[in-house]
Symmetry: C2
Subunit: 335 residues, 2 copies
């Protein structure tokens, strides 16, 4: 089968962020043997793979698990189960590949983790229903538990940001959206952002202060990890939690007011979907997928598509699709 195969093992010990201009140092399009499912595994013919920032971190050796040279890259996809230790053969499933990656004609994973798809769920919604939507549901549980009726999120114009804003809108918890480009503001307000802070404008911290004073958010959902995020955290009210889940910035943020950890009970922590899935009540996960599929099918969530790239052309075309300011990139291995 054709696959985008990793060229390196392990970690790179770099921290260059999830941007990419040239794939060729990291992966190559190769013919490799179709994986053969063992006990408890399922083989899936891939229909469409969603490309996430974590995929780019991963191929660059900057993600929380080591690369394996010669193994196809790509974490999530939708496809048809064609073989393996599962009653779901012949069915369309979303899945997270843990044995052979999704940037390939066939991928392999733990059969217990397949997510059957409603027939009315579109291919792009199905391809991307694990990483971003499940992260949004899981992090929104943290927001709800905080008891506040607002929350702060940065990179708010990202796909995940938009999912979070729609969740806030639908649950009456006001999203405070932090974005870099002012031209995204109107669309995010239309979607449901109660407030928008634009970091490229004058004094973004000054924009934030009256908003925080009035709305009293407790949770900061952070995909950026830069100095402004740290400053924003220390401008939040007592008992604020900075929940970092991504690193779009290569800055190393300094803690300007460490004393707030002591006197205001503030906390800095991380969110990783992989850990959440191990720790959460197992019944939460199928319930979350029911909710995710219902939200997409009913139009409460939509997937913005930046481009769908054939597997055979992904080496050249994926970087330019990923560089688009809005929307998500997909790889189609059938074409």
């Amino acid at each position: 089968m054709k696959a985008l195969v990793q060229l390196h093992d392990g970690y790179s010990n770099t921290a260059t962020g999830p941007n990419i201009e040239d794939m060729s140092p990291f992966v190559a399009l190769q013919d490799v043997p179709k994986p053969e499912p063992g006990d408890g595994q399922a083989l899936i013919k891939v229909h469409m793979s969603a490309v996430n920032p974590s995929d780019i971190h991963f191929i660059k050796g900057e993600y929380g698990q080591p690369r394996v040279k010669g193994m196809p890259a790509g974490f999530e996809a939708v496809g048809e189960v064609v073989a393996g230790d599962t009653p779901l053969k012949g069915q369309r499933v979303s899945f997270f590949a843990d044995a052979s990656g999704t940037w390939a004609e066939y991928a392999m994973t733990d059969a217990a983790r397949l997510v059957p798809c409603r027939p009315d769920l579109s291919e792009v919604d199905a391809a991307g229903q694990l990483v971003n939507p499940l992260t949004a549901i899981a992090m929104f549980d943290i927001v709800k538990e905080s008891g506040a009726d607002s929350f702060v999120l940065n990179a708010a114009g990202s796909q995940l940001g938009k999912l979070m804003i729609a969740l806030g809108r639908d649950h009456g918890i006001k999203p405070i959206a932090v974005i870099r480009r002012a031209e995204q503001a109107a669309a995010l307000r239309d979607l449901g952002a109660a407030e928008v802070i634009v970091t490229s404008e004058d004094d973004p911290l000054g924009q934030a202060q009256p908003i925080f004073k009035s709305l009293k958010p407790r949770i900061l959902l952070d995909a950026v990890g830069d100095q402004f995020t740290s400053d924003l955290f220390f401008a939040m009210p007592s008992h604020a939690r900075w929940v970092n889940y991504g690193k779009l910035s290569t800055e190393t943020p300094a803690l300007g007011q460490l004393g707030q950890m002591i006197f205001q009970g503030k906390v800095i922590e991380g969110f990783w979907l992989t850990r959440w899935m191990k720790q959460v009540d197992p019944a939460r996960i199928p319930a979350a997928f029911m909710e995710i599929q219902e939200r997409f099918v009913s139009g409460k969530w939509t997937t913005d598509v930046a481009g769908i790239v054939p597997l055979s052309e992904a080496m050249e075309k994926l970087p330019e699709v990923l560089a688009k300011p809005d929307g998500k990139a997909f790889i189609d291995p059938r074409s």
Copy 2:
């Protein structure tokens, strides 16, 4: 009565650390009216007041509660209850002053928070039994809950550091002591430190790495808040918690490997005794004081005295006693 009275209200918005060369910008020795206890309050004739870093932070306007101009400074002391709404009149008590400070002939506090002292508890042990010993007991609860059989503490040569090391020794949880001055190392090893990392020597992070690999500590108790502490935290194993409870350094530490919050489940938080006392099971507090007094009387803990300064000479003499490398400073308002 004579008292060291605060010269400023509120906060200073500076961050200069708990060192002091000159008291005169912050407090003055004055004659002020003896406080009159109201409902639920007790008046105590002060025998001896312990001077802690938090007192110095406080008079400089850098602590978590606002100063009150004209009010005596000083948080903790031992003395005799002479008036108020309490059956403890005539008894010797340790206390934390919340209504009129302890750097004075008389202090006032909530009568419910008086701690009766065993007759065999010495005056210096009694004067300082609240802030440091209760903090040590409370933070050691965090260490025990971590499940690891070692923990890391910096400023390990401080009074609080020595209390923590002795607790580790007596409970079989190995203290990994971080200190600045190599000459403290032998004494801390004698006291019970399993390992000592000296930050003024070559490559302290290199010293720490094999120790962390072998002992796998989960808790970092931090009174310093400098860049080395941040680097040390990121060198610790997965699920490490950086518990900051003091700010001896004026550095603003940068988070060099924020991704560990995500992938290794690390957490940065603060410890404040005031919050702990509100949140803990109320039965824990009298039990802790029984344990604290028993530990001092039996010699499991000792108070190192840097000097006892008469109240009338404290303006001039306290800074030089506080500048001594070892031991604790006290103010005696009877002389």
